[in-house]
């Protein structure tokens, strides 16, 4: 199991039946593959749909039915479509239960930077700022380090996505929860040690009194 699959399998355990869920482009999208049996959630595409499901077969594309990355998708029975104002009303208005987003940096205050590297990568924020500002639970899915460079920092150096703290960071090494006291190390990936996580993290970590092993969806 590679790092990204492990992260997706851990985050899948966060979803509860009835949740309205928005998955970002890339790694976050793969969380849907590991939805535990018996858990029924609704996936939102911010371009205007509740009820995404994968395209059943290549060649069955509907030119009017795509996800926010422009990839063609299917829809579940009971799906519904709406315009961009409504879609972001759902997001900003706190009607979406969980969003899973990629991250470039997270800091001790739980703040996220994930939309630009000035001078290098200027894709635009898309829906990320609205999602981090308005969704009930914001889960960041990212590798713990980038080519050895630490990403969980004392203070983000890249432009912030929101001044609202995120709810949880899941990496291939650990699950970390931002709290009023700071970042709490709550879970370790199979084979990972507290020392290894601390070394890969610039931010100060509060090691929970009962660090447990990460549950992983099948």
């Amino acid at each position: 199991m590679d790092a990204k699959e492990l992260i997706a399998r851990r985050i899948a355990c966060e979803l509860k039946s009835g949740d309205l869920v928005n998955l970002g482009i890339g790694l976050p999208t793969t969380v849907a593959r590991y939805l535990p049996p018996g858990i029924d959630v609704f996936f939102q595409a911010e371009n205007g749909l509740i009820g995404i499901k994968p395209l059943p077969q290549i060649g069955m594309e509907d030119e009017y039915l795509a996800d926010a990355g422009g990839g063609f998708i299917g829809a579940i029975p009971g799906a519904c479509a709406f315009d961009s104002c409504f879609s972001f009303g759902l997001i900003r208005g706190g009607h979406v239960d969980i969003t899973v987003l990629g991250g470039l940096q997270v800091d001790e205050q739980g703040l996220l930077a994930n939309w630009t590297i000035p001078g290098k990568m200027v894709p635009g924020m898309g829906g990320a700022m609205d999602l981090v500002t308005g969704v009930k639970r914001v889960i960041v899915a990212m590798t713990h380090t980038n080519k050895g460079e630490r990403k969980i920092l004392r203070k983000c150096t890249l432009p912030l996505t929101s001044v609202r703290p995120i709810s949880l960071v899941v990496t291939e090494l650990a699950v970390i929860e931002p709290t009023a006291e700071g970042l709490v190390l709550k879970e370790l990936a199979p084979g990972a040690t507290v020392e290894q996580v601390v070394a890969a993290t610039e931010a100060r970590l509060i090691v929970s009194s009962n660090v447990v092993s990460m549950p992983l969806a099948a």
Partner: protein, 221 residues
Amino acid sequence: MAKGVTLSDAVEMIPDGASLMIGGFMGVGSPHRLIDELVRQGRKDLTVIANDTARPGAGIGRLIDAKAVKRLVATHIGLNPETQRQMIAGEIEVELCPQGTLAERIRAAGYGLGGVLTPTGVGTSAAATAREIEVDGRMFLLELPLAADFALIGAHRADYCGNLDYALTARNFNPIMAMAGATVIAEASEIVPVGVISPDEVVTPGVLVDHLVERELPHGR
């Protein structure tokens, strides 16, 4: 009541330098024939307000490829490397805006509001151009209305009155842009007799649509 206009006449109404709102999200729901005709007629120096610029060779990306755009207001250009290249080379001016904020700025213009207050972007670089306003102890950004000379709408069906409906995720920014363009030009995949789209199903009332692009029949007339 007849609003039909040929594709070339529709685009001839749009001068160089005009500001255009263009519906669509990664090309889905964009008015593709109008975009192609803008390129064919060699329109230049356009200001485009849209969610994104799709990909090179697709949707609004074709206007970028043709160097027809001078200024862009969008939420995401990450999937179009050519837009990023032109921005970094200083060939195109790009204003990036959070997606929910772009939608609300367009809505504000169309709905006659002086702006909207949103928590999105407070304390970030998106706040650089907006005024912060405190309401009951919570901070918001005052985002100002965004209007355009033309709104180019991609609909699913239109009837002879110009009433429009949309399909699935092709709706996106189209209905709100149809309220915010001074002149609204729509193209539809189907044109149907009045009554086929029932009053409850009409999303954009025909009174908002100034011109409806005539069909192109696959086997001629």
